[in-house]
């Protein structure tokens, strides 16, 4: 008995010992590859395409960071993680960056010792039901069976929502999104709940997307963003400012089309600082002067990445909504580059 307890402790100790090292930037440079944790497959956010190349909104963050650090957006090792394994993978050092629809919460930031480096998608938990049920509001769901992915903030929000509205439900916990969809389609649950963006993404893959509706209630705040381990602030800065570079580029009108032209030098000092023709921002991060240019060179700015992967023209068809630039009435806002 003692032996097995200690073997278990040994495993855990090994995991934690791996996470104690500090200079992630040097490690990534020495390895020549960024290990980036993504989902096991959510259309539009992170999913391998027909030729096995990872594509998606979260994947673009990984590629941008890899380009900023290593100069090559393809120097990424994608590590698929489940809701359960993601934090262990990051804490253990198996991955350098987690870009996986992860909600920024107090306890994850403070208690689990992670560093959220910004928000790349403002989401909220929604409900999807078959149209034939004729449900118009989540408050009509009294007695419904609800499919829910375990290990997320979703189940806590769900419990709170039903309790505060004083209605009952039957939770059906499920390990992965794919299994949840399978049960939902078979009618083993009436409702499928998760982040509204993921619901839209899953619905796009259904045989008949119009047979399912998203209910108007959004029951939680789910700011999704990339995160790194506590304790390596240099690395966290790189991840944070790479994301900010993508956002600022959209605000300043730097796109993949005019990137080369603008990086030759412009009238606008902020663009020059961003693209490295003016100032020392790159070396302050421990990177090349052209780090942001390299990051933008992979897939363009935040808006371009959004439209290409999950925007209105894609099967997922998400509107910008809260995720519009602050200048357009959204919440996407980057601190200044100076």
């Amino acid at each position: 008995m003692k032996k097995s307890v200690f073997l278990g402790a040994l495993t855990v100790a090994g995991i934690i010992a791996g996470g104690a090292s500090a200079a992630t930037l040097d490690e990534v440079k020495a390895r020549g590859k960024l290990n980036c944790g993504v989902t096991t497959g959510v259309p539009g956010f992170a999913e391998p395409d027909a030729s096995g190349v990872w594509q998606g909104f979260d994947v673009a963050v990984c590629r941008a960071v890899a380009a900023a650090v290593l100069g090559d957006g393809n120097a990424v090792e994608f590590v698929p993680t489940t809701g359960k394994t993601r934090f262990t993978a990051l804490a253990s050092g198996e991955i350098d960056l987690l870009a996986r629809n992860t909600t920024w919460t107090f306890s994850r930031d403070v208690d689990l010792k992670f560093e959220f480096t910004g928000v790349n998608y403002y989401d909220g938990q929604g409900f999807m039901v078959p149209t034939e049920l004729g449900v118009a509001s989540a408050k009509d769901l009294d007695g419904a069976t609800v499919c829910i992915q375990t290990g997320t903030t979703t189940e806590l929000n769900l419990a709170d929502f039903f309790r505060s509205n004083n209605i009952s439900y039957e939770p059906v916990p499920i390990e992965t999104g794919a299994e949840a969809v399978q049960q939902y389609i078979a009618g083993a649950c009436d409702v499928y709940t998760t982040d509204a963006s993921a619901l839209a993404a899953q619905r796009a893959n259904f045989e008949d997307p119009s047979a399912h509706v998203l209910l108007p209630e959004i029951v939680s705040k789910e700011p999704l963003g990339p995160l790194v381990r506590h304790g390596d602030n240099e690395w966290a800065d790189i991840a944070r400012w790479t994301l900010n570079a993508l956002i600022t580029a959209e605000e300043l009108g730097v796109t993949s089309v005019n990137l080369e032209e603008l990086s030759a030098g412009t009238e606008n000092p902020e663009v020059n600082r961003l693209l490295g023709t003016e100032g020392e921002l790159g070396s302050m991060l421990g990177l090349d002067a052209g780090w942001a240019k390299a990051a933008l060179g992979v897939a363009g700015n935040y808006g371009e990445i959004f439209e290409k992967n999950i925007g209105a023209a894609t099967p997922i068809g998400l509107a910008r909504g809260l995720n519009a630039q602050w200048t357009d009435g959204g919440l996407i806002y980057s601190p200044p580059f100076r």
Partner: protein, 405 residues
């Protein structure tokens, strides 16, 4: 002739620890023990130091914190306001339920399949070996998933029962509903006076035992065959039903009824429990069948022939002569199969059954981030369950063992 001198008293020398076979094994055992303790201390110290460096500590305070999540199947009252500790207990009870049901069903399936594998009938024998080979050669997780997905796709959703042109209907005079969310059965409601009916029922069961003992005594003492089948059935049903009628039906049934999204009322056996239970039972049953077959084959053929010569029929030979002896060989491997069922039940989360691994090792672990504490506690719980099963089964094994005098 000289008197025998006292043997020369050897003084102990340090080199004897290595050179003298009397001490050598002790020396090496001691060295091994010290090495193991040192290794464990190093690992444990490393764990504590690394945790401290990462700013973490080992603390079980989270067990008293509010859990915040709901669990669908619960034997004791629980809601999202209760603590993580209570959620773990709910999960523990769910593990025990499925392990208990699984062990019993697997034993029944295993014994039947094991006996039938030795059947003289070619078709029966082949069907049983097909069953054994198919089930024990595919991982149990795959079986759980296959059975669950067949269940949710082959049975109707509750909404198929609704409306005038419903595509599904309830069974047994509208009392049982089989849906892809589980099976809904009528639930007994215990009214006043129902204890009396239960008392009568228990008394009639005792009566059945006494009657059968009497019948056996008649057979052994006077060679008289007293018919037992019909009196047993009569005793089982008649007094309890009479009591129920005389008392004015204190026990009534609550029938499931389609209301809103789901059936309400009655008792629900969830699909996840059925799938997990069935998959564990049929998978482990295949292993038990092989144990039973081995046990039966180990009994010398002379026993069967001797019993046959006495005029016993094949069924009686099996029940009275072969199986009781085979049991001594079957029980020890049976214990490990029971342990396997208990441990394999931790795959429950694959079908959304909230067992101990799903609550304490799943949601609680993820919500609190207390991985080490939760996993250690989880190991302790499984260890206690497994050791208890082994303890009980070992007592049974000792009572069945060949008594040598």
């Amino acid at each position: 002739m000289t008197t025998l001198a006292d043997p020369h008293k050897e003084s102990f020398k340090l080199s004897m620890l290595l050179n003298d076979t009397r001490y050598r094994s002790l020396t090496f055992q001691f060295i091994a023990l010290v090495a193991i303790i040192a290794a464990m201390a190093f690992i444990g110290g490393n764990l504590v130091r690394n945790l401290a460096e990462a700013g973490l500590n080992i603390s079980y305070d989270f067990l008293g914190a509010q859990a915040g999540y709901d669990i669908n199947q619960r034997l004791i009252s629980y809601d999202s306001q209760d603590t993580h500790g209570r959620a773990a207990i709910v999960g523990l009870l769910n593990t025990l339920i499925v392990a208990f049901l699984g062990c019993i069903t697997a034993t029944v399936i295993g014994v039947v399949a094991g006996v039938l594998r030795l059947s003289p009938n070619w078709l029966v024998r082949k069907i049983m070996s097909f069953y054994v080979e198919i089930f024990r050669n595919v991982p149990v997780l795959i079986w759980i998933l296959i059975i669950f997905s067949i269940m949710i796709n082959a049975t109707p959703a509750p909404r198929a029962f609704r409306g005038d042109n419903a595509t599904a209907s309830m069974w047994f005079f509208d009392s049982v509903a089989v849906t892809n969310r589980g099976v809904y059965l009528p639930k007994p409601i215990w009214g006043t006076g129902s204890m009396l009916v239960v008392g009568v029922f228990i008394a009639s069961i005792i009566g059945i035992f006494l009657f059968r003992r009497y019948a056996r005594k008649q057979l052994f003492d006077h060679g008289k065959m007293v018919p037992t089948l019909w009196p047993t059935i009569g005793l089982f049903f008649v007094p309890a039903i009479l009591a129920q009628l005389v008392m004015g039906s204190p026990i009534s049934l609550d029938y499931p009824e389609l209301k809103g999204f789901n059936f309400t009322g009655g008792a629900q056996i969830r699909g996840s429990l059925i799938a997990l239970w069935f998959a564990l039972a049929i998978y482990t049953g295949a292993f038990i069948a092989e144990n039973v077959r081995a046990g039966i084959l180990a009994i010398s053929k002379g026993q069967t022939e001797a019993a046959g010569a006495l005029g016993l029929r094949p069924g009686r030979i099996m029940n009275l002569v072969v199986l009781p002896q085979a049991l001594r060989i079957i029980i020890p491997p049976l214990i490990s199969q029971y342990l396997n069922i208990t441990k394999n039940s931790s795959l429950a989360i694959a079908v959304g059954y909230m067992d101990l691994t799903g609550t304490l090792g799943g949601i609680t672990l993820l919500q609190t981030g207390r991985a080490i504490e939760a996993v250690l506690l989880l190991m302790m719980f499984y260890l206690i369950i497994s050791l208890s099963i082994s303890f009980i089964m070992n007592i049974y094994n000792n009572s069945m063992k060949l008594k040598e005098r």
